[in-house]
């Protein structure tokens, strides 16, 4: 499949004998807003951690753009255009919103430490460029007005968006979002969905790992359902949805009807 951005073949991961991911094969298509759903313990977050290089697979392979990424560290993957957000917020709390984004913007220039420390004109020019870039990314998620606020003083919903701004600032090919709407009220969730759509609209492949069916069904073009580390079914939200009634026992989710 040439249009697959992430191609997973026979992937397994066990934690002390417990198979969290069991010979899983699936491929995520380029530019598709893709959802990965499943009950607690289905292996969603484990899969995400495997793709991002946090865990090493027990067996099987993951290819990104046809390239085997096993053994690559998270920062190497980030440099190659794969990044993620976190279920529990991972914000640089003592830094301003702008600085949070700057960390991502400046990362690819963080090579010659000595040069960056010296009071050079070129360094100051770089800083200026990074600042205006970071402000643009903040504007993309609607946070330009709080650019100078210390991150830990911002409300939860804004921090969720700040995480997205930081991820997109890497200009990645693919962003994996771990339960972006978790803990958000419906207003915050709606705003977040708008932002995710606009990110996807830029041609970035967005992969959602999500509990909130409403978010998944509203946003995603393709959905994979995991169960005990295996692929239960996949397809458009509608086809999965009709299947979903059958498998609701596995999902333990009753809010499907609400979502519709």
């Amino acid at each position: 499949m040439h249009d697959a951005i992430i191609d997973i073949k026979g992937l397994s991961k066990s934690f002390g004998g417990v198979l969290a991911i069991d010979a899983l094969s699936l491929s995520i298509r380029r530019g598709r807003l893709t959802g990965i759903i499943g009950a607690n313990g289905a292996g969603k977050t484990t899969l995400l951690n495997l793709i991002c290089g946090v865990f090493k697979a027990s067996s099987g392979s993951i290819h990104v753009d046809g390239q085997d990424i096993s053994g690559l560290k998270p920062h190497e993957l980030a440099q190659r255009g794969i990044t993620r957000s976190f279920q529990n917020l991972q914000i640089f709390g003592d830094m301003t919103a702008l600085e949070n984004v700057l960390i991502a913007v400046q990362s690819r220039y963080l090579k010659n430490y000595l040069r960056l420390v010296l009071p050079l004109k070129s360094v100051r020019a770089d800083e200026k460029k990074w600042h205006s870039d970071a402000l643009q990314w903040l504007a993309l998620v609607g946070l330009e007005s709080v650019a100078d606020r210390e991150a830990k003083s911002l409300p939860y919903g804004l921090l969720k968006r700040l995480e997205l701004a930081r991820a997109i600032a890497l200009e990645p090919k693919c962003i994996l979002l771990d339960e972006p709407a978790a803990g958000c009220n419906s207003t915050e969730a709606n705003k977040l969905m708008d932002v995710i759509r606009s990110i996807a609209g830029r041609g970035v492949t967005v992969v959602l790992v999500e509990h909130n069916m409403k978010v998944v069904m509203n946003l995603c073009e393709e959905v994979f359902v995991l169960d005990r580390g295996r692929l239960l079914c996949s397809g458009t939200p509608d086809t999965v949805g009709s299947d979903l009634r059958v498998v609701s026992a596995y999902l333990g989710s009753t809010n499907w009807d609400e979502a519709k």
């Binding site: 560290k73 998270p74 990044t83 700057l102 990362s107 420390v117 200026k128």
Partner: protein, 337 residues
């Protein structure tokens, strides 16, 4: 200062703008000090402050900025100090060359142990760095035939051709050393502040706040951590080499665990992440024992009491807490008019 620059770091104001005048006054005062200090004791006290502050400034980059603990920095200090003796004595290199050579040795040791050590976090990192410090202490004590063992060893004088630099044991010598150590701490301070407010410093702060998020921002956190560890070791080692030539004598006490602990206390008291805080913390903890000597047997108890009280009232350390109250007071006053 442009708006965009101030936007990037709120702390820049407290340390650069508000603190700029204070720093200038402090600098001027330190430059004039040699003309007023009455005797060798006072010169020595200031030099001890400079030495401790140099180590503390470096340690603050590792602990305060990057959030990585080290309980073994006295080990690097001692390695630097012993280089001043052992390199000229056994390798026959000139004493002046022993300074850069000693610094390089400390850097290489830090680089070698930094990789594996900094994979560990929190308590585990504390334990292993502590173990490093203790290892240095044991090594210096037990290799008597090389290091002189527990008795220590005399350090040769710094010489350049026919010129000989006196140690700090004479008034004439201590005056020269005051200038040398003052220059050293100024270089150390300026370098630390430059790092702190650079893109590198920003990334280090990110590591402190969330290591995993920093990784996913594309930052090679492992090499960044080793970098700052080696850098802080270089600070300690440099201070150590100069301290050895200054005092003319080294002993394993330099690598004592107690010294590592005091270094940490200095930067916590002054305020983690603040370079000037490290200097102030070092000054207080260097001077206090002399002041508290009046309490005789209760000296240590008083020192402990003062530290406890300080940490209760200045929870984030002296400089950040006082800086915040100053800013608040300023804002309230501006608001009123």
């Amino acid at each position: 200062m442009s708006e965009s620059e101030s936007a990037s770091s709120p702390h820049r104001h407290s340390e650069w703008l508000g603190g700029r005048y204070l720093l200038a006054i402090l600098f001027a005062a330190l430059c004039l000090m040699p003309f007023v200090l009455p005797n060798r004791f006072w010169f020595d006290l200031f030099i001890q402050i400079f030495i401790n502050a140099t180590v503390a400034i470096g340690l603050n980059l590792l602990v305060g900025l990057a959030g990585q603990i080290s309980l073994g920095h006295a080990g690097f200090f001692a390695l630097g100090a012993y280089s001043a003796v052992l390199l000229p004595k056994y390798l026959g290199i000139p004493t002046l060359v022993a300074i850069p050579a000693g610094i390089v040795i400390v850097a290489v040791v830090a680089l070698a142990i930094g990789g594996p050590l900094l994979r560990l976090k929190g308590h585990y990192l504390a334990m292993t760095t502590l173990a490093f410090g203790i290892l240095v202490f044991i090594f210096l004590n037990n290799t008597s035939n090389i290091t002189g063992g527990p008795d220590g060893i005399a350090v040769p004088s710094l010489t350049l051709g026919s010129l000989t630099m006196p140690t700090g044991q004479t008034l004439a010598g201590v005056k020269i050393w005051y200038v040398v150590q003052l220059v050293l701490i100024i270089v150390a301070y300026v370098a630390a502040v430059a790092i702190q407010y650079s893109a590198v410093g920003r990334s280090l702060r990110a590591v402190r706040d969330s290591e995993i998020a920093t990784r996913f921002c594309g930052v090679d956190v492992d090499s960044l951590k080793v970098f700052v560890f080696v850098l802080s070791a270089i600070y300690a080692g440099t201070a150590g080499v100069f301290a050895a030539f200054y005092s003319g004598y080294v002993s394993p006490e330099l690598s004592d665990f107690m010294y590592s602990t005091i270094l940490i206390t200095m930067i916590v008291l002054g305020g983690l992440g603040s370079a000037i805080g490290a200097v102030i913390g070092a000054a207080i903890l260097t001077v206090l024992p002399h002041v508290l000597a009046a309490f005789r047997d209760y000296e240590s108890a008083m020192l402990g009491l003062i530290l406890v009280v300080c940490m209760i009232f200045f929870r984030r350390g002296l400089v950040p807490t006082l800086g915040d109250s100053l800013r608040e007071w300023h804002a309230r006053r501006n608001h009123r008019y």
